[in-house]
Amino acid sequence: MSILFAYACAPGELAAEFNLSGRISHDSRIFLDKGIYADADDSSDDGQKGEFNKSISRMELNIQRVDEEGFSMFGRAWLTYDHLDDFYGQSYDDSGAGSDSDLERLEYEKIILREAYAAAEFGQFEIKAGQMILNWGRTDEINPVDVVNPEDLSEFYTIEKMERKIPVMLFDGILYLGDFALQAVWIPFFEPAVIPSRGPWAQNTLLEFRQAAPDLYAGLDFSDRDGAGRRDINNSETAVRLTGILGSFDFGLVYFYGYNDQPAIKIDITDAGNPADIIYKKYSGYGFDFAYSIGGYGFRGEFFYRDRILYTYEKTPPPLMSYDNYESPDFQGIIGIDKTYGENIYVNIQVMYTRILDYKDDMLMHEDMIMGMGTVEDKFLRETLTVALDFYYGFREKDWMLGPRIEYALTDNLKAKLSGFIVDGPLASDLGQFKNNDMVILQFAYNF
C-alpha cells in the first residue's frame, strides 16, 4: 500500500516525503555433519550421506512516511533468492513438497511483503492497521508472552527471531496514560507457525511418523492451513496488553484468546475417512512480564499460563498405531539476569521452566522441563568487533547447543558475521535431535 502511494508521487516529492532504506544480505550456511538420519539405522531412507549447503541472498526494502499530524505509513518487503545445493535426499522447499533423489539443486526466488501498515495518533490514542510484526516480552530470545506473531521454524533457531516471525494482518489500538499503556490487538485471520515436515530441521516425531506410515504422512499437508480456519473471521484472535512503569520496575500483563500456532496431530488408521489430521486449538492465555534493575544487575522475567493445550499420547501402538490428544493447561516461565563486567563483557543467564499442569503418564511430552540459556559477549575496537557465545542446556535430557559468533562492522553500514551451530544430546531430546546438523553460517549485510 505504501509503495503504491509512493509511486503516485513525483520523484522529488517522494524523496521529500518518504524515507527509503534497505538492506542487502547474503547468508551462506554449510552443514558440517551428515544430516538428521546419520545415526538412524535405516539406510533405505534419505539424507544419510551428504552435506547440505544453503545460501540466502536478500534485499530488504523499507519505505516510511511520518507527518507532523501523527499519521505514518510503513512498508517492508523482502526479495529473496534461496539456493540449496548438494543435499542428498529430500528436496526441501517452502511449499513442503518433497521428492527422494540422490542430489537436488534447488533455486527459487520469493518476494515477501513483510510489513505494510498505516498508523494514526489521536491525542493519547494510537491505532495501526495492516500487516505487522509485534515483539512482546522482556526476556531474551524466548518470550512466552510474545503471542501475536507465529514463527517460521524452517531453519529452527539458526535465523534471528525477528526474521523467523511471520507477519500477520492485525488491528492494533494503544491508549497511553502517562507511564502506562493499554494495547488491544485483533487478528482477523489466524496464521499458524511453519513447522518443517521435511528436510534437516523436521522434528524427530514427524520423521518417525513418516518412516512408520509414509502413506498417512503424505496425506498431511502442513502447508494447507485453511483447515485451521485461517480465512474464517470467526476464528480470529484477540490480545490485550497493559504495560507500565512503577519506579524502577517495568511490567506487562497479557491476555490472549486465540490458537496455539503449533499444531497437534491426530492419527487413527481405522478411520478411513480421516486417518490423519492436523489440529489447531484455541486457548486463553494469561501472562506477566517484568524488568527491573538494581545495583548494576538487570532482572527480567516472563510467565504465561494457557488454559487448554493439546498434548499427544500414543493411543494404540504400531502396527495399528493411533495417536490422540489430551487437553491440559500448561505453564511456561522464564527468568533472567544480566550484567556488564568491565568495559564490555556482557553476561546474560536465563532459566526457563515449562510444565504440563494436568499431566498424564502416556503423554509423549515430559511433564516438565528446565532449560538454561545465556550469552557471554565482549566487544572490541569501538564496538565494531563482537565476539560472543550463546548457549542452551536442557537439564532433563542433558542436550545442549553452543552458538559461537564473531561480528565485525567493516564500515558504519557493512557488517560481516561468522557464526556456528553446535548441538549434542540424545536423539530423542529437543536439541539432540539436531545433533547432526552442526553448521557454520557466514553472513554479510549492507544497510543503505
Binding site: S21, V66, R138, G295, D338, A409, N413, K415, N447
Partner: protein, 267 residues
Amino acid sequence: MKKSLPIIIIASFAVIAIPAAAYSEDAYQIVMKSYNLDQGKDSKTDMKMELESKGKKDREREITTWRLERGDEDKSLMYFRTPESVRGTGFLVWEHKNKDDDQWLYLPAFKKVRRISASEKDKSFMGTDFTYNDVTQPHPDEFTHKLLGSETAEGSDCWKIESIHKTFTGDPAYKDWDKYQYSKTISWTRKDNYVTVKAVMYDKKGQECKLFRAGDVRKVDGIWTAHVLEMENIKEKHKTILTITGIKYNTGVNDGFFTERELVKPR
C-alpha cells in the same frame, strides 16, 4: 544544571561535592556555578558525532536529543538519525538524585524497548569515546573536589579543579558501590562564564586515559553553549567529536514526551 547532551558532558567533568574545608568550599562554589548555569528548562539539539582513529575519520553519526529539567528527576531522549544501520535507535534516561538512573534502549530491528542496568554506564556509548556516564550526569554529591589554581585553557582564563569520586575516597556511604570509571578528573572551568572547556580523566590505576575539550563557546538564546565537544581516548589515540548543528532552548517539551511511546516512534 543539565540540559542537552553536550551540556551534560560538560557538567560531568565539572563534578562537584560537598566540601569539608574552606579551601574546598571555593572549589565547590565554582563548580556549583558551573553546574547551575542557565541552560533553559528544556532543549532540543541536533548534532553530528564523528569518530576519528589516529587522525582519520572512520565513523559518523547524526543524533537528535531532547532534554527536560525537572529538578530531582531530569529526563533526556536521544534518537539516532544516521547511519542507516542504527537509524531509529533511541535512548531514554530518567536521572534520579538519590538512586540509580532509569535507562531504556530501543533498537528498531528488535522492535523492543530494553531496560539497561546502571552498571552499563561504564560502557562506551554506542561505540564512541563517551561512556554512558559521560552522557548522563552523576550526582554532584558523589564527588569530593579541590581547587588546584588558575590556568589558561582553550584560550581562556580558567579555574583548575580536581574531582574525585567518593568510591575512591573511602567514604563509608559508598563502600558498596562499584568503583567509578574515573579515579580522578582535572577540569578547567572558564572564569568569565563558568563553562568547563577542558578535562583530563584518569583511569582506575591513576593513569591519564581521556582528554575532553569544549570549543566554539557562544550564546544561543542568551545561554552559553559549547558547539564543538571532543573526547579523546589518549591510550588508543581515538577521538569522538560532537558538533552541534542546531540547538533550541525552552521548546516547551513536557514530561509526557520522555516516555516509551516517544522512544519507539519513527521520525
